[in-house]
């Protein structure tokens, strides 16, 4: 049957929701059911660091109900994700196992960057408006309960993404602790928000962005209602200003009635709106688009894409790469050096497909490692391995899970220092066996690439790799002297041989023969 149904479950901090989609090559992806139920998982975790038994019990009850819905719709697959309430709970691993046994549903914890990436994917699913919006420069403002994410688009691609601890619930907490009356909220909020935004602006913002795309649980709904009436489906800054003005001048009960929002959400709506307005002012935006998408949409889109049912027109991998390039740029990495490293290592990776058995995702990790391979030198040239590792671990790369982040950090570290064997990692409990092997293989490749550009002068213009029995022949196209590279190649090739049982050798492409063939 052509139509498949898929379930995406989002176990959030204050709500658990499930969306059922039908996915088909003909009609694409269509939401057919959406179930939401409030459950306060956040308070437990945020106050005690652990999720209580009662919450998990309640969660299991809802998940069991979800299960019957999934069975009813005969879903072919599902994906259940837990976000910050699980991410920050000390006892998450035990609980996830418990939940799996009791409900048959396996919840995977998302890192912040993965979560944001799904949100972003969900937005991008609304292709038509999305493509139009990002063309003229846009910032996606993704407002969560604990933090917000600002992602910037230039010329169709994502160029940077940054997490700020300005989530709505966090801000509300601040306000309640400050012991002030509601009339003072606006001024205080502005002050708190601005102090963080100033830093962000200084470090990350060079351009202005005409559009903002807002993803959140409160202000979006209001904007969606208004933008239905607006031309081109977008609202503008003036509308937001008017709305916030109304929030400040109308009694809460009246507002709740007019906006059709529960009274307790009014303050959150106000915070969300204020945040949005401050950011719009900071980036110079005029227009707002609220796509009204949720994490589940992104999850399903991702699934459909992986199952090859839907072919997105937007290149998400490119976003990850562009972001990484910008991170490299921030740490004064050379673009040319990065490109060369990328080119060489990918050529080797592709030529060894049958040997290393790794796939598309590992290829991406290699690319990112190549781009970030020496970022640590920004801090210390002597302590390059540790500093590179530290920078990668401290930097958020959108679309990358925590486990993948650890892999990249280790690759860039061991690119410059002797490799440690599995026992070392096992002791530190940092990498599992599979990840360890990925680190080893990708490090081996990156080291060869590094070896080929020893002088850091990008002597290699082009490279061809050919596997001949136990030898990997790397034919280099260069017009420069590569004596240094050849001489020191031994060091990097030893490790390569150890990992793959294949000896890499360098060959310089003969200029004369090149011309001969050209005739």
């Amino acid at each position: 049957m052509a139509v498949k149904t898929f379930a995406a479950i989002d176990v959030g901090s204050y709500e658990i929701s499930m969306k059922i989609y039908e996915i088909s090559p003909k009609h694409g992806m269509r939401e057919i059911d959406h179930l939401r139920r409030s459950i306060d998982m956040g308070t437990d975790t945020y106050t005690t660091g652990k999720l209580s038994y009662e919450r998990v019990d309640e969660l299991c009850r809802i998940l069991k109900e979800f299960r019957t819905f999934m069975d009813g719709y005969k879903v072919v697959g599902y994906q259940a994700y837990g976000t910050s309430a699980f991410r920050e709970a000390e006892n998450a691993v035990i609980l996830l196992d418990q939940i799996n046994t009791r409900t048959g549903i396996r919840i995977v914890i998302l890192s912040n960057s993965e979560q944001r990436f799904f949100h972003y994917k969900a937005v991008a699913f609304k292709e038509e408006i999305f493509t139009g919006t990002i063309k003229s420069g846009a910032a996606i403002i993704d407002i969560g309960s604990g933090s917000i994410q600002i992602s910037l688009f230039e010329d169709d691609t994502l160029v940077s993404t940054q997490n700020l601890r300005l989530g709505v619930l966090r801000l509300r907490e601040h306000l309640t602790h400050l012991d002030v009356v509601p009339s003072q909220y606006e001024a205080l909020l502005n002050e708190i928000i601005d102090s963080q935004l100033r830093v962000y602006k200084k470090l990350y913002l060079n351009e202005t962005y005409k559009n903002v795309i807002i993803v959140d649980d409160y202000i979006s709904a209001i904007i969606i209602k208004r933008q239905k009436k607006a031309a081109k489906g977008k609202s503008n800054k003036l509308m937001l200003e008017e709305l916030l003005h109304a929030c400040n001048t109308t009694p809460i009960s009246e507002l709740a009635r007019i906006l059709d929002v529960p009274e307790e959400n009014i303050i959150l709506l106000q915070i969300s709106g204020t945040l949005l307005l401050r950011i719009m002012e900071m980036v110079g935006a005029e227009f707002i688009w609220a796509p009204g998408t949720t994490l589940c949409d992104g999850v399903a889109y991702d699934y459909a894409e992986k199952q090859k049912i839907i072919k997105p027109s937007h290149d998400f991998e490119q976003d990850i790469i562009t972001c990484t390039r910008n991170i490299s740029k921030r740490y004064r990495g050379s673009k040319r050096r990065g490109d060369t490293m990328e080119m060489i290592s990918l050529t080797i990776f592709d030529s060894l497909k049958k040997i290393h058995g790794m796939g598309k995702r590992e290829r991406l990790l290699l690319r990112l490692s190549a781009l970030l391979h020496d970022c640590g030198k920004y801090i210390s040239i002597v302590n390059l391995p540790e500093c590179s590792y530290g920078i990668v671990m401290a930097t958020e790369i959108i679309g990358i899970s925590e486990a993948e982040q650890i892999i990249i950090a280790n690759i860039v570290k061991y690119n410059h220092q002797d490799f440690d064997y599995f026992d070392h990692f096992a002791e530190q409990d940092e990498l599992d066996r599979t990840s360890y092997l990925i680190v080893a293989k990708l490090t081996a490749i990156l080291r060869v690439a590094n070896g080929l550009d020893r002088s850091n002068r990008q002597k290699v213009h082009d490279i061809k790799a050919a596997l001949k029995e136990n030898e990997l022949i790397l034919t280099i196209d260069t017009d420069k002297d590569i004596a240094l590279e050849k001489g020191l190649f031994e060091y990097s090739s030893n490790f390569f041989e150890e990992v793959f049982s294949i000896r890499p050798t360098i060959k310089r492409r003969d200029f004369l023969s090149q011309h001969k063939y050209a005739d």
């Binding site: 139509v3 039908e22 009609h27 005969k74």
Partner: protein, 707 residues
């Protein structure tokens, strides 16, 4: 202009009594066949019973609690009770006048001998009933005497009883009170062995005749009939109730013990006997009804079914016809895909709805069936199909409203049965009654998942669908399907969706929606644009809605209301210039559909739904209002409204004096709308849907060639 003053509204209960009076009018109307008149009289009695158990009981509770809050018309509970009492006493008197002066003689003329008093039995008949008594009645009787060692027995709600004063033969003490319930398990109408004419007698007469056999060794001083009514409004503390099912079962038993609020006795009852009963039940003088005839006239509805009197029944009304295009074996899903289908019951039969659930239950492509059930018929085919669907592995969710008044017991039985079959049963919602009638079928089809929805104004009850006028819509519009899914998710306890497409829900925003739609007409009228509202409901009691209607009419909107029952809106307000009319149709079928029309400045909107315009419907019940948008279906609704407004036979007009009068037929065509609908039910077909809407706001330029 302020219309909020109480003088602009009438009291709901008194208005309802006027409705019962109109039904009584049908019983009095000599133009109606005799047996129909019997039935109408029976209905008035049954209506009054319910009115007492719920409405009067509530008012008594309010008085008891010392509440002084006034109603919509400015009356305190105490004042209301007094007026109601007067009106009811008058009405009961009329019931028995009709019975004695008009109906009984009529029966006699038509060869039906109704033996009023057992003393009138012939010797032969007497011998028969005595034998019948000993064989069939005596074994199930439980006579109970009261003395110092035996307390006053439980006299069950709504049961007929024979109270007697008895005295031991050996001693000559004070007389004792004894009572025996007329068993409700036996037919109250006993037909005597066939002679040339049908002869019947009521069971209580037979018992009375043989009462000495129950109290041997006693002298019977007197034996007379009495009947009591108790406060029957279930008072369920839902918040403190763990299991609603158990609680309702418990409360149902308690209903028998509710405080007595009405006593009916034979006229001329022995004073001593009456005193014992009234003292025991703590009844006031005005709660006692002395009736001149049999107690509890609801038996007349049973009498209607006596064989051999078809000539005395209404035959002009046709049996439900099949919905055009439907026959056995019709693929209902294909039919719905071809276009929305409007069902008009009871003129068209209910089988497409039954079939809809039945086919869904066995169709392998169907993934899920969800339905709300409020009142279900005994042996309901829908319940059977739902159970079958669950057994076939489909996801079946059923909301059974346990709080459906007087059907609670019935519903518990079904609910348990469905649960056993594997359905997910929801027993209503805390604090709300689920009154909406909606069914959702989710089906996996060739290229996508498609949702089929049935929305109705009446219950999923194939029995009442034969005499309640209702509308139903079958559709597979994606927007309706999405909303229907959301409705069931909400009923299952999930959060409200972020967006609704077409449906309006009470208690969420349906009332606001109505107020908006009415106000839109007001604004149009004020701006000099055409403004017109037609609303057909069973009751109109919500003050906000009525006030909005007044304001719209004041601005110039024309408003035609078709309100079968209670209507708190009045028509005599001078400033409104008769722009509001109210009519009530009391026909052979019970008017039950709720439909609405809003002119909307030349772009009319039609809606139908489950909600009456009463506070309880708009604020304490889950109700659904749905639009009817397909041009051919709109045409049907236009026809329905036109016929209802042109009815000259069964329509009563609310006058400025607050009375209802039959339409003045002079110069008008004689038209009985219910007969008209019956005649047209078969001819209406679901025409092919034309792409352009009749009232489209898009101008179509004249082509050059056509000029």
């Amino acid at each position: 202009m302020d219309f909020s003053h109480a003088s602009n509204y009438s009291n709901r209960e008194l208005s309802w009594l006027l409705f019962n009076q109109r039904v009584l009018g049908e019983a009095k109307d000599r133009k109606n066949p005799l047996f129909e008149r019997l039935k109408f009289l029976g209905i008035t009695a049954s209506n009054l019973d319910e009115f007492f158990m719920v409405r009067v009981a509530t008012l008594k509770d309010m008085v008891g609690a010392g509440m002084k809050r006034t109603d919509i018309s400015g009356k305190t509970p105490d004042e209301q009770l007094k007026e109601i009492n007067l009106a009811v006493h008058k009405q009961v008197k009329q019931q028995y006048n009709t019975y004695n002066r008009s109906l009984l003689p009529g029966l006699k003329q038509n060869n039906l001998r109704f033996i009023e008093k057992h003393e009138d039995l012939t010797a032969k008949e007497a011998a028969y009933v005595d034998r019948y008594f000993m064989e069939s009645v005596y074994p199930v009787l439980t006579p109970m005497a009261v003395d110092s060692s035996r307390p006053f027995p439980l006299v069950r709600n709504r049961s007929c009883n024979i109270g007697a004063l008895i005295k031991a033969k050996a001693r000559s003490e004070e007389p004792e009170f004894a009572t025996v319930q007329v068993p409700s398990l036996l037919s109250r109408i006993v037909t005597l062995p066939a002679t040339e004419i049908t002869t019947v007698i009521l069971l209580e007469e037979i018992i009375e005749r043989n009462i000495d056999k129950l109290f041997l060794n006693y002298d019977i001083i007197c034996a007379q009939h009495f009947r009591i009514m108790r406060n029957a409004d279930l008072n369920i503390e839902e918040d403190e109730t763990e299991d609603l099912l158990e609680e309702i079962e418990k409360q149902l038993k308690m209903r028998q013990w509710g405080e007595a609020i009405r006593l009916e006795v034979e006229a001329g009852i022995d004073e001593r006997l009456l005193k014992i009963i009234t003292d025991e039940l703590n009844l006031d003088k005005e709660d006692i009804f002395f009736v001149d005839g049999p107690l509890d006239l609801t038996f007349l509805m049973k009498m209607y079914n006596l064989p051999g009197f078809d000539a005395l029944k209404e035959t002009a009304y046709r049996k439900p016809v099949p919905v055009p295009g439907f026959s056995t074996g019709t693929d209902i899903f294909a039919k719905i895909r071809a276009g929305d289908i409007l069902l008009h019951h009871p003129y068209q039969d209910f089988s497409p709805v039954v079939e809809f659930v039945r086919q869904a239950a066995s169709c392998p492509s169907v993934l899920a069936i969800k339905q709300t059930l409020y009142r279900v018929s005994g042996n309901s085919p829908i319940i059977a199909s739902l159970a079958e669907a669950a057994e076939n592995g489909k996801q079946v969710t059923v909301l059974v409203e346990l709080k459906a008044r007087f059907d609670e017991e019935n519903n518990i039985v079904w609910a348990k049965k469905l649960e056993q079959a594997g359905c997910h049963v929801i027993y209503g919602l805390v604090g709300l009654k689920t009154h909406s009638k909606i069914t959702l079928v989710v089906r996996r089809e060739e290229d996508s998942i498609r949702r089929y929805v049935h929305l109705g104004t009446g219950n999923y009850n194939d029995a009442t669908a034969k005499f309640y006028t209702d509308l139903g819509l079958l559709t597979c519009q994606a927007a309706m399907g999405e909303d229907a899914t959301a409705v069931f998710n909400m009923l299952s306890g999930y959060s409200e969706p972020l967006n609704w497409n077409k449906l309006s829900l009470a208690p969420l925003w349906l009332k606001d929606r109505f107020l908006y739609l009415i106000d839109r007409e007001r604004r149009n009228a004020a701006a000099g644009r055409p403004a017109y509202i037609i609303a057909k409901v069973n009751s109109l009691c919500d003050k906000d809605i009525i006030e909005a209607l007044y304001r719209a009419a004041f601005a110039g909107a024309k408003i035609d209301l078709i309100v079968r029952g209670a209507c708190c809106l009045i028509t005599g307000i001078k400033e409104l210039n008769n722009r509001i009319t109210v009519r009530s149709i009391i026909g052979n079928f019970l008017e039950h559909s709720r439909i609405f029309y809003f002119e909307n400045d030349g772009n009319p909107e039609y809606y139908a739904g489950s909600a009456d315009l009463m506070p309880r419907n708009l604020e304490r019940r889950v109700e659904i209002l749905f639009p009817v948008e397909q041009p051919d279906l709109i045409e049907r609704l236009e026809f329905i409204f036109a016929a209802l407004l042109a009815d000259t036979v069964k329509a009563h007009i609310l006058t400025g004096k607050g009375t209802y009068e039959k339409v003045d037929k002079r110069g008008k065509k004689i038209l009985n709308s219910q007969l008209e609908f019956g005649r047209n039910a078969a001819t209406f077909t679901n025409k092919k849907v034309s792409p352009e809407r009749k009232n489209s706001r898009v101008f179509i330029p004249q082509k050059e060639g056509n000029l």
